[in-house]
Structures are given as structure tokens and as C-alpha cells.
Symmetry: C2
Subunit: 157 residues, 2 copies
């Protein structure tokens, strides 16, 4: 399957060192999304949404391991039970706040991705579509709330 | 960018006709995810999570339009403000309930995708990472809750 970028994500982060580890931990960190001109028409009506999913390519990731030591954890965990950026398919997913849509540029907040990240898709965030009930979070129990205190480091290359 | 399936999603749906339009509307609909043997080790620790994101390929979608008439709506809307399955990059995203993990097979519920859908990635669903506040949902205001009453049809080929 071949995919092509529909745009580029610009953020303040040039390196994984000291980057927030989830968008929840990136509160207020601003960035922009520049959509290719040919897709501009598809941005109509997006400004009504306060939050959007960005699906993007982890362009700086090379290789992966099936057991990793994720942020917030000291033990090896199965890769698919983590959000680690080195995966068989290097696909990232973040919910960001959409603050402005102007021409082919989106202003966003809560950026937790590297500058220059190629964007693959945008989807509206709709709580009615997504709110699971009775959620359990496995190894992240008691840890996920600490994402805000943590920063990324060089563990994933 | 080239991606390869890490597995296959099996669901009761062979056609878009009469399929639920969001996982929220697919409550209790069962399916399985068969992961390729070589990725099995990466499923460790996943069983602790009650819900997971599936990122997959809309393998039956051909072509796209930048303005579409989505489900729940009678007006044309910008493609990226919808979840329509025909997109520049045919990437789908669903949150499903994980009921069992055994060897390389996941039993899931709340399936809203077609049988035989190629799986690209699995990520754990972690409410602490994702809960945006003060959400606005644009053209879907007053409509998104009705996803459960609606079924898919042949509008997207």
C-alpha cells in the first residue's frame, strides 16, 4: 500500500529529546499544518471542529522492536500495547486542538510530533463516536496521568 | 511511503450496505483480528487494555472527492471534516473493544469495518492521553448521537 503526504506538520520540536510524550502533555504547544493546495477544498467545514485527529508518518523512525521500554515504564512491553514511534508501519496518531483554519493552513495546539512530520490524513474528533465505557488500561494503570510530567528522550531512534 | 498489513480484520460485513457507520453504532458486533505470526510478540501486554485503536486500510475504496455528502447529513461537506472512507490516503480509524487475546488472534467488539480489511497498526486507547475538553463538533452538532440509528449505504464506492 502506498500513501502520499497531504501536507506537513510544523512544530517547535526538531529532536525527540525533550518533546512531550502525548498531546495531552503538550497543552498549549502551538504548531501549524500546511495542506497541499490540491487538497484545500477538503478542509471546508473543518473549522467547526475544536479538535481533530492527525494521522501522520513517523518520518524520523528507523526500525522497530516488538518489545520496548516505553515512556512512563521501566519494563519491556509488547510494542502494540505502547505508543512507541518505531513500529512495523510508522503511523502516528494525535488529537490536537484546532484554533484557526485559513486557506490551506491550520493552526493547532497540543503538538506532540516533530517538525516536518508528513501528514497522511485528518479526521474530525467526535466524542459521540469515540467514547468507550468501562475502560481498562493495562500496564498504564496509575501511570497515564503522569504523561504531563514527562518528556521524550532519545530511547527511540 | 509504503506500508504493509500487519494482519487482517474479520467482521460480519461483506458489503458497505447496512454496515454500522461508526464503532459507537456497532455495539456488540463481533469480529477478530488475525495478526501475522512475525508480529505476535508485539501483542504482549495488550490484553490489559479494554479498548484499542485499529488503524487500517479502506481496501474497497476507489477514488475520492473533496466534497462529500456524509452519513447523518444532506449537505456537501469538506472531506476532511468527515469520516468518509474514500480519501487521498485510504486510512481508517476505529476504537474497538478488546475481549480476548489468544496467540495471534484478538477477539473484538464494536466492529464497523468490512471483512478482510488489512490492518496497519494497533495502539492502546488511553483516556488520559486523549480527553480533549470543550469540544465543538461543527456540522455534526445534534447529529452525531444519531449514528446508532443509521446504517451505511452504497454512497461511497
Amino acid at each position: 500500500m502506498e500513501f502520499e503526504p497531504i501536507g506537513l506538520i510544523r512544530t517547535p520540536f526538531n529532536s525527540r529529546e525533550d518533546m512531550p510524550i502525548q498531546s495531552r502533555a503538550a497543552s498549549g504547544i502551538k504548531g501549524t499544518v500546511e495542506i497541499l493546495d490540491k487538497y484545500k477544498e477538503g478542509l471546508a467545514d473543518l473549522s467547526g471542529f475544536s479538535h481533530i485527529y492527525l494521522i501522520y508518518f513517523f518520518h524520523r523512525s528507523e526500525g522497530y522492536k516488538l518489545k520496548v521500554k516505553p515512556f512512563l515504564e521501566d519494563e519491556l512491553r509488547g510494542l502494540f500495547a505502547t505508543r512507541a514511534p518505531n513500529r512495523p508501519n510508522m503511523i502516528g496518531l494525535s488529537i490536537v486542538k484546532l484554533t484557526e483554519t485559513k486557506d490551506n493552513t491550520l493552526r493547532i495546539e497540543n503538538c506532540d510530533m516533530l517538525d516536518g512530520t508528513p501528514l497522511l490524513d485528518i479526521k474530525p474528533y467526535v466524542p459521540d463516536f469515540e467514547k468507550p465505557e468501562s475502560v481498562r488500561i493495562g500496564w498504564l494503570e496509575g501511570k497515564s496521568g503522569r504523561a504531563e510530567e514527562h518528556r521524550s528522550d532519545g530511547r527511540f531512534k
